[in-house]
């Protein structure tokens, strides 16, 4: 018999329990899902808050880096001139000399934007730590000119945000290279040519010399002390012309243009009493005179041309370079190499009664005694002059017109006070002043004098604080620059890639040293803002077809490692150009402001109204401790390496 009592209720209770059980499970799962999703939402918020804090710290780092990289005077000293929002971090990472710290630095960043994030609903806590790890020197080997302040390190930023009970911690890091962008020692020279071949020229409107402006421009007046001259020369861009054969630079007439004419010629008449042994000494109205002139026969008077009629036309050709600037802008310097200056010396007899000058012509011994003489001398006059010198050709030669050569650097003596002691007839004074040596140039450990040829196989260069920055061999052997190549921090596959990435809207942003594979061709004008200069090391050739403008003379150097540099524009190029294995080729008109270092140079001789000029950029001077100090740059990788902890 089947029992039917109690059937419905137990079933209902069981059903109810099942439904309640299912409902509870569903409720628990749903609640857990929602809870989990809310936690996920809080986690996402915390992540974005931490990421925002990271962005603020990255901005502080980038703006600090850009400020530290600025070379303009207004930004120094960095620690006090920095924006108040950047000052804390900048003060933390710079040492007392203003260079990057070498030990680890940890800095708790506070910034109004982080305060803003803190004030957001739900944000409980934010902490941002900026950290610079202990540095390593850029160079670990020997044999390179090492600056101990050039280092590599890593900067880390740690940002942590707490939203509710969920925290998010992000870590970003980036490599830093702290390097100097002055291409020492090349930029000590306005022009350095390893294998210079002089091509003397017959001046014309189509053929004018290349002018070197070596820094300061002076008046050629004998008003300076030896010490003043030494000090001045130590800040001028020097000139190195390599080679073993003598390089003869004829004094230029500039084809009548003072802008292209050799400076500091002794064109005023220097008058001398007649020597007592000469018979003219019995006359009160006669004196000897002497004056210097350039080598351009077509611009001199007939008597002057005749006085130098024996000189071959080849010897009257002028130099292809104006080493010391022009008559319009005299810019003295020290010239390295076997360089001699050739000019014409017009000498003769001056009659104080009638004011007439009578040049004594350049002769050979047989002409002296046998005649005839050029210049319209009558036979009686000729014989009178021969008698004056007792028929002694050697005595005549001292007072007659001639070409004369001196070391190129001897020109500087014309700035000396009381320079009569160094006049044409006493080229070597009995004793040179002790302070006529350069402090920052030594040859075999001995300071080099500025009045003589500087031609050696080993040089030691010091900066204005006495620190040696180059101690090596002959510059003519300088073909590779490993101490510059090793500092490079960026790599580009081609010149086009570099320009596309780093020269947007015609504004170059480099702030460091970059390697470029292949060639580089600059076809559009480039502007280099202050602090964004650097060195471009191009594997192949460099062609420049447009202007390069450097704000506030910001240093920029273009180096062709194995190729040549071709300038194809007359617009101003504010950059140093280096091709130690190739040729620096210039058009008929060019204007380079920086420096040029090359194996050879080649100039286009065609007519041009444009200047042909290389001007020295003193801001690239490695011997200037101030400028060198201002050209350290923090290079950073393009992006940050990110990690979530």
């Amino acid at each position: 018999m089947i029992k039917q009592n109690g059937f419905a209720l137990p079933v209902a209770v069981i059903l109810l329990l099942v439904i309640l059980g299912l409902g509870s499970a569903y409720f628990t799962v749903s609640r857990q899902q929602l809870f989990s999703m809310n936690r996920h939402a809080a986690s996402e918020r915390a992540y974005h808050i931490a990421q925002s804090a990271l962005i603020v710290a990255q901005m502080v780092f980038d703006e600090s880096r850009d400020f530290i990289n600025r070379s303009d005077e207004d930004s120094w000293p960095k620690e006090s001139k920095a924006d108040p929002l950047l000052r804390g971090w900048i003060q933390a990472i710079l040492n007392s000399d203003g260079h990057l710290q070498k030990s680890q630095v940890e800095f708790d960043l506070e910034h109004p934007l982080i305060d803003y994030l803190r004030e957001q609903d739900g944000t409980d806590q934010i902490r941002v730590i900026m950290r610079m790890l202990p540095s390593q020197p850029i160079f670990s080997g020997t044999g390179f000119p090492i600056n101990e302040n050039e280092i590599t390190t890593v900067v880390e930023i740690e940002a942590e945000a707490l939203v509710g009970e969920v925290s998010s911690r992000l870590l970003a890091n980036r490599e830093i290279r702290y390097i100097n962008i002055i291409p020492s020692p090349l930029s000590r020279f306005t022009l350095m040519v390893r294998e210079f071949v002089e091509t003397p020229m017959q001046e014309s409107v189509n053929s004018l010399p290349m002018i070197l402006q070596n820094g300061k421009v002076l008046a050629c007046t004998p008003s300076h002390s030896p010490t003043e001259i030494s000090t001045m020369l130590e800040t001028q861009g020097w000139v190195y012309l390599g080679g073993t054969a003598e390089i003869r630079m004829g004094v230029n007439s500039g084809n009548g243009l003072i802008s292209h004419r050799s400076p500091c010629l002794l064109e005023d008449m220097y008058l001398y009493d007649v020597d007592p042994e000469d018979s003219f000494s019995s006359r009160d109205d006669l004196m000897y005179y002497t004056r210097e002139t350039h080598l351009s026969p077509q611009l001199q008077g007939a008597s002057e041309q005749e006085a130098l009629a024996l000189v071959s036309s080849d010897d009257l050709k002028t130099g292809s370079l104006l080493l010391f600037g022009s008559e319009e802008a005299f810019s003295p310097t020290i010239v390295f190499g076997p360089v001699r200056k050739v000019s014409a010396l017009l000498q003769g007899i001056y009659n104080t009664e009638n004011g007439k000058y009578s040049p004594l012509p350049l002769l050979n011994p047989s002409q002296f005694l046998g005649g005839p003489w050029p210049g319209g001398f009558t036979e009686p006059t000729r014989l009178t002059i021969v008698d004056n010198f007792d028929s002694d050709f050697a005595r005549y030669q001292i007072r007659s017109s001639k070409l004369y050569t001196t070391d190129a650097n001897f020109l500087i003596t014309r700035l000396l006070k009381d320079s009569e002691a160094f006049s044409i007839h006493s080229l070597e004074p009995a004793t040179w002043p002790e302070d006529s040596n350069l402090k920052n140039l030594s040859i075999a450990g001995i300071p080099a004098p500025w009045h003589q040829a500087v031609h050696a196989t080993a040089y030691q260069l010091k900066d204005d604080l006495g620190n040696t920055y180059f101690d090596g061999g002959d510059f003519s052997q300088l073909t590779e620059l490993p101490w510059i190549n090793r500092k490079s921090g960026y790599r580009f596959r081609s010149g086009a890639d570099f320009l596309r990435l780093q020269a947007k809207n015609g504004e170059l942003k480099l702030s460091g040293i970059a390697d470029i594979r292949g060639d580089l061709e600059i076809t559009d004008s480039l502007r280099v803002p202050s602090g964004q200069g650097g060195i471009l090391i191009v594997e192949g050739n460099i062609r420049i077809r447009a202007a390069i403008e450097a704000e506030d003379s910001e240093p920029l150097t273009l180096i062709s490692k194995t190729g040549s540099i071709e300038v194809l524009t007359s617009e101003k190029i504010e950059a140093g150009l280096v091709c130690l294995m190739g040729t620096a080729e210039f058009p008929s008109g060019f204007d380079v402001s920086g420096f040029v270092s090359a194996k050879q140079i080649q100039k286009n001789p065609l007519e041009s109204a444009q200047p042909r000029r290389i001007s020295y950029n003193t801001k690239m001077d490695p011997a200037s401790s101030v400028h060198f100090r201002r050209n350290f740059r923090m290079m950073t990788e393009r992006g940050w390496q990110l990690a979530i902890k």
Binding site: V13, L34, M37
Partner: protein, 137 residues
């Protein structure tokens, strides 16, 4: 007697089920609502992240500054044309809102505020808000 007891039992069972149906219904409907919220919150988080990524990318490519310059009001942006950022339309009831504003402390940082919601009538509990900074240069 047995029949009476049976009837009472049935009545009791029905009453029990009827009484308990209210909390059970509440339990299920609440759970369902929570499930919906969780689902929409997940969608909202995902959508907000996509929008943030699109805005960040636009900032990097320079599109964003152009858009900002096109607007003239002080807050720079109210509703942004999202198609310009490459985002697809949302299916209702999802909606989204984006605003960008410059920070006076820095010209290179923009504040991004993103809201994605799924019920316009109950805005506080049915929306996901995200705030962060992006760099424009």
């Amino acid at each position: 007697m047995r029949r009476g007891l049976g009837l009472a039992e049935v009545v009791l069972a029905i009453a029990l089920i009827s009484l308990s149906s209210v909390p059970v219904f509440y339990l299920f409907s609440t759970s369902r609502r929570m499930q919906g919220s969780a689902k929409y919150l997940a969608l909202a988080i995902s959508e907000a992240n996509s929008m943030h990524a699109a805005i960040t990318a636009s900032g990097k490519t320079g599109v964003l500054p152009t858009l900002i310059e096109m607007t003239s009001d002080e807050n720079l942006m109210g509703e942004l044309s999202l198609s310009e950022l490459g985002l697809l339309p949302l299916k209702p009831p999802l909606w989204r809102k984006l605003s960008l504003s410059p920070m006076v402390e820095s010209t290179s940082i923009l504040k991004v505020e993103i809201e994605v919601g799924w019920d316009r009538h109950n805005e506080d509990s049915s929306r996901y808000r995200l705030m962060g900074f992006i760099r424009t240069k």
